[in-house]
């Protein structure tokens, strides 16, 4: 198993405030890795630092053997590293179809019109609900459907590594399950590697191979999903169980 993403000692600041403190992690090809932690722990900042949406001081990010610490965000997308942002951030006024086309934008500019059209078909096969709503304004979809659209849109760029930010946020438990089954099948059927940020640790650890727990900008735990599930601190702090229950 080769290392696809290698993050070493990232330090990220918002003004004078240090939000990431020497964060190191790695994702192997074909893995689903969960990044867990409470609100404000630095999970999203970690993703944004990897994609260079925010800049960090010191440390390094290596993707597919290349140092991307100084790369531009669009170059990074072109290399197959795509982020699905928190809160979906789909284009509400555009149709489902146009949202998907936007996902293939980098490739369209590269002249891959045919490939993008084929991928659109693939996405509609994978997410039949989106085919039903293909002409509909994206803003009118339900929360779960919008999340599906956000993932499908990201997949249009043919990512090798998908960074998923809180796909379960604001969704009903049943929908969360459906989304995570989808993420799981992305890896199993399409070989997509996933770095999954989740506050819902229980759900994330069900599909993840390994995980990291962030706390106020520092990684405090690292381990296999089984190890983290067994960790009483994780269970108490992130699985919402009291000491008596764990």
């Amino acid at each position: 198993m080769s290392t696809l993403l290698r993050v070493t000692s990232l330090n990220t600041f918002y003004g004078p405030l240090q939000v990431l403190k020497s964060v190191s992690l790695h994702v192997n090809e074909g893995e689903i890795v969960a990044l867990l932690g409470a609100n404000g722990a630095g999970k999203t900042t970690t993703l944004n630092s990897i994609c260079r949406i925010v800049h960090s001081r010191g440390g390094s990010v290596e993707y597919a053997g290349k140092d991307i610490s100084r790369a531009r965000p669009e170059t990074i997308v072109g290399m197959g590293l795509t982020q699905v942002p928190e809160g979906r951030q789909i284009f509400g006024e555009l149709s489902v179809r146009d949202n998907l086309i936007m996902g293939g934008y980098v490739r369209l500019r590269g002249g891959e019109k045919r490939g993008v059209a084929e991928d659109m078909e693939r996405m509609l096969d994978m997410f039949p609900i989106l085919r039903e709503r293909i002409q509909q304004r994206a803003g009118s979809l339900s929360g779960g459907q919008q999340q599906m659209l956000a993932i499908a849109r990201a997949l249009m760029s043919r990512p090798r590594l998908l960074l998923l930010d809180e796909p379960s946020m604001g969704l009903a438990p049943l929908i969360v399950k459906e989304i995570l089954v989808t993420v799981s099948s992305l890896r199993d059927e399409h070989g997509t590697t996933v770095l999954l940020v989740e506050q819902n640790a229980a759900a994330a650890l069900k599909i993840a191979d390994r995980g990291y727990v962030l706390e106020t900008g520092r990684v405090v735990l690292e381990g296999t999903a089984t190890e983290l599930m067994r960790d009483r601190e994780v269970r108490r702090a992130y699985l919402g169980k009291d000491y008596d229950e764990v």
């Binding site: 000692s9 403190k21 964060v23 990291y212 405090v220 690292e222 381990g223 067994r230 960790d231 000491y243």
Partner: protein, 436 residues
Amino acid sequence: MSEGAIWNTERETMPRREIEQLQLERLQATMNRAYRNVRHYRRMFEAHDLVPEDIASLADLRKLPFTTKQDMRDAYPYGMFALPLREVVRIHSSSGTTGLSTVVGYTRNDLEDWTELVARNLVAGGVTKDDVVQIFFGYGLFSGGFGLHQGAERIGASVLPVSSADIESQVKVMQDFRTTALVGIPSYALQIAQAMDEVSVAPSSLCLRVGVFGGEPWSQKTRQEIEERLRIRATDIYGLAEVGGPGVSGECEFRCGLHVAEDHFIVEVIDPETGEVLPPGAEGELVFTTVHKEAMPVLRYRTGDISSIDPEPCACGRTFARMANVRRRTDDMVIIHGRNIFPEDIAAVIDQAPGLGPSFRMIVDRRGAEDTLRVEVELSSILSEDTIRAIERLDRDLEERLLRVFGFEIGVHITEPRSLSANGEKRAVVIDNRKI
């Protein structure tokens, strides 16, 4: 599983770059927890004006001061724990040969890791699921017995937890239960061989195949003797209670040093005088940092064990660095008449002297201004001939040998066979009365 088997190929053959990434990630997480939860470490960081994130690379580790046996004693019993006792499912304690014992806790994950690490060592030493493993490490607060027991069960061997039973019982179990693998302290294995001689049990009448030994420094000569007398292949394992017991490192079939479980430990070798980190190959004191322990993480623990590190991959396929077999300890060193004498040096002389050993004690006294060294050594077997004269002859013989080697007089006192080596204790004990 057979010769050359590897228990966890994914981990034990990781490329160096991946080992280092994993070590860094785990080190940082460990430091963050130790800083948050262990007063000793928080103070240590603060005293050096450091925060955990200052350690941004493995090389930065040397910014941290060492943790010593004394730090552990000061925290006795639970002060070094990073989690409350309710998270701890097992407690062991060091054997306490150098003073007050230190206490180590394990969470469920820690036990799981420990079992895995010992399983790796046993497999590297040639033990398979088909073996009948007789463990004569003590079961108790000492971590040896339970540690090896879990690992042997994990690989699926049939485990005989004989523990520190008397020698006659050990031999009987070996015969009756058809033991194929011995696990314990090497000097005790020699005593078992001795006892077999005395009651005329031929090794060829047993099913013994391999032996995995540790818990005390032992020489190449001891290994040869064990192998010849018990007709087994003997491999060395290493561990210490303070960083979690056995499972820290172990030899593979090539026996060219012990592979350190680098996914769980960072090993350094330092100059014991200056604390300076020494390059690969240089001999010095071993320092370990645990990177995956939950209940009791340990940062830069000075072991007192003398060794060196070879980071080159091994012919067996394992990529983990190898440490040279530990033959001596810094705190067992006796400085007398300006000479540094290790128990190992005395052991080498005793090994040359017929009829004596293996166990002995070194006793240092100060009479007026003069320091004296005395060696108490046990007879290898009961003498049949004229006892007093025979003992006098052995006594004189050893005194002459010691004088020749060390250049000053070392008194010898001979004791009954097995009087110093009851039930699997260490081969050499140093008593320095000058310190008191």
